[in-house]
């Protein structure tokens, strides 16, 4: 059962009905039962043991931290650090064993040679748990937050299991903080607004995924699978279309998840804030996959920057370089560790060497060049607050991002480099073919003029909604002000757009989300 299947929606609405009719103090138990049932329907059942293992490690660590023997006992403080480190390492190790080994071929080979037992485990073909990357990050965040005193350890192991395995977020996150999900244990009353807003958001997510993303996927996959035929300018279509595909896929799934949680009066944190409106790459990463960025900032970047080694590096830089360079050195070092961890979380060398290294380089270069660029814009008397300048900056950021995610489109690092080579060859290729943009050749990929029109109209609708979101925070803030017939007209149009133009049913596999693999 996937979050785009009709079975999921039947499950969701029956679940919500049971949830609101049950006694309030039992609501979290209903959510727990729904999460377990969902897990059994959506994933390989025995893999729930990995969620249980994560819960048990975090629970034990939390309880030991609260233990009277350790509290207020300075000598025992080291033990608390050891317990925290052990709980974090167990979770990383299990994740690495099941998710990382599929990509880290060298590491796996070394592991198998050194410890043959892992070879035997590999032969058992144990599959990873659903949403393993997301809940592992979440539980590590919980353990560290308990250690740092940000949250009080949960004393009920079943409640902690609900935090780990709350069913909507097991598909592609978001990576929530414990404090953000404490609402799971509170009483919730039925409210029509929650049902209306949740349903709206689910419908909008389905539109993004089934109408836009799955159509764009045909173009992207078609070109990359036959680069000998689709040469010249063809691969550049992928470069600029793929960011839209991944955005509508990932954010569409997030809309379904956030909407599903809202039906239960649970607010999950937002993962996107109109990333393509960003003026700089730095801003882009503050608007894209926000919960992963926040998690990495709070649990990796801050501790690393505050570590003795980095403080020393900062002092050394101050003694040897100008003020600006002295700041740049520890910043670049901290950023590299942050990007490395984010690449590592994605679980493959192509992410670390490709995506992370690329964006880290871009960020460092933009930091180096920004004073010069500021001077130039000052000299040219550019109004940096004008729409046209903002538009130019957003297009520039989109192009930089588009080139970076070429690595995302490949299955392996070598394949990613092949893609880069194909792009570079465009400029020397004898088949100079810019007319493919206008002569209808694109239909050879299996997309009709009708599909192209649907894509263009849908992207216009997406832009409109994103503009409203930028202005009001939520597009629904604007929608709620409109008169009832107009609102319902929009819902009906959207519903029929999904039913008529959605890529679903026999022959399509709309169930796969790009970020579902993590």
């Amino acid at each position: 059962m996937t979050v785009t299947s009709y079975r999921f929606f039947v499950f969701l609405f029956i679940g919500a009905a049971v949830y609101y009719t049950a006694p309030k103090r039992m609501q979290w138990v209903i959510l727990l039962c729904l999460s377990v049932v969902y897990y059994f329907l959506a994933a390989t059942p025995y893999t729930i043991l990995f969620l249980i293992l994560s819960t048990v490690t975090a629970y034990t660590a939390g309880i030991l931290m609260e233990c009277r023997y350790f509290r207020g006992n300075k000598a025992a403080a080291k033990w608390i650090t050891c317990i925290t480190a052990a709980a974090v390492l167990i979770n990383i190790f299990v994740w690495f064993l099941l998710k990382g080994n599929a990509f880290w071929m060298l590491g796996t080979r070394l592991l198998h040679e050194s410890f043959p037992i892992f070879l035997q485990l590999g032969a058992l073909k144990i599959v990873p748990a659903l949403g393993m990357g997301y809940y592992t990050a979440q539980i590590i965040g919980y353990i560290l937050d308990c250690y740092w005193g940000i949250c009080t350890p949960q004393r009920n192991i079943l409640k902690l299991f609900l935090f780990v395995g709350f069913f909507p977020q097991l598909t592609v996150g978001p990576i929530s903080k414990y404090s953000e999900l404490e609402c799971l244990y509170r009483d919730h009353s039925f409210n029509y607004i929650n049902i209306a807003h949740g349903s709206q958001r689910i419908l909008w997510g389905l539109f993004k995924k089934l109408v836009i993303s799955d159509r764009l996927a045909i173009i992207v996959n078609g070109i990359w699978t036959d680069t000998l035929f689709y040469n010249g300018f063809w691969p550049w279509i992928v470069v600029f279309v793929y960011p839209l595909e991944i955005y509508t896929d990932f954010s569409g799934c997030m809309d379904i998840i956030l909407g599903a949680a809202e039906l239960f009066d649970i607010r999950l944190p937002e993962n996107f804030r109109n990333p393509f409106f960003s003026r700089t790459c730095q801003e882009f990463w503050q608007r894209w996959h926000i919960t992963l960025g926040t998690w990495a900032r709070d649990h990796v970047y801050y501790p690393v920057l505050k570590s003795r080694m980095m403080v020393r590096l900062g002092k050394w830089s101050k003694q040897h370089f100008s003020k600006r360079i002295a700041k740049l050195i520890p910043w670049a070092a901290g950023m590299w560790i942050l990007w490395f961890v984010m690449g590592f979380w994605h679980g493959s060398s192509k992410h670390i060497i490709g995506v992370s290294a690329y964006f880290w380089t871009i960020l460092v270069l933009s930091e180096i060049c920004s004073p010069g660029l500021k001077k130039i814009t000052g000299l040219l008397k550019v109004d940096t607050e004008s729409f046209s300048w903002h538009f130019f900056q957003s297009v520039r950021t989109y192009i930089i991002y588009s080139i970076g995610v070429v690595f995302f489109t490949a299955d392996r690092l070598t394949e990613a480099f092949e893609h880069v080579k194909v792009l570079i060859r465009t400029f020397s290729h004898p088949a100079w073919n810019p007319w493919i943009f206008f002569d209808g050749s694109i239909r050879s990929l299996g997309v009709s003029y009708r599909d192209l029109n649907v894509i263009l109209l849908s992207l216009a609708a997406l832009l409109g909604v994103d503009v409203l979101r930028e202005k009001y925070g939520y597009a629904r803030t604007w929608l709620d002000r409109q008169i009832l017939p107009f609102r319902w007209m929009l819902y009906v149009v959207l519903l029929f757009a999904v039913l008529i133009f959605g890529m679903y049913g026999p022959g399509y596999n709309a169930s796969e989300f790009i970020y579902g693999q993590f």
Binding site: D145, W148, G149, I150, R297, D298, Y301, Y302, P303, L305, K306, V311, G314, K323, K327, P330, W331, G334
Partner: protein, 80 residues
């Protein structure tokens, strides 16, 4: 140490870290009010505050402090 004394020293630290002598911080000052106050400068600021007041600010406080008022509260609490 009074809150006024804390603010006097905090102003000095902020001016040094952000290289801007016109900065005057108050309880409600946040990262939105100072242009260069990003996540990197946040840690620089914390380290500078630690050096100024000669104590370590726990990681939990570093992550959760939302404005200068909370920073001053932490300093007063740790400086007791």
């Amino acid at each position: 140490m009074t809150r006024e004394e804390v603010y006097e020293r905090l102003n000095k630290v902020f001016r040094e870290v952000f290289d801007d002598d016109s900065i005057i911080v108050q309880d409600s000052t946040t990262s939105d009010d100072i242009e260069d106050w990003d996540s990197f400068e946040h840690i620089n600021l914390v380290v500078a505050v630690e050096n100024e007041f000669s104590f370590k600010i726990p990681m939990g406080k570093v992550v959760t402090m939302k404005n200068v008022g909370e920073m001053a509260d932490i300093i007063l609490e740790l400086g007791k």
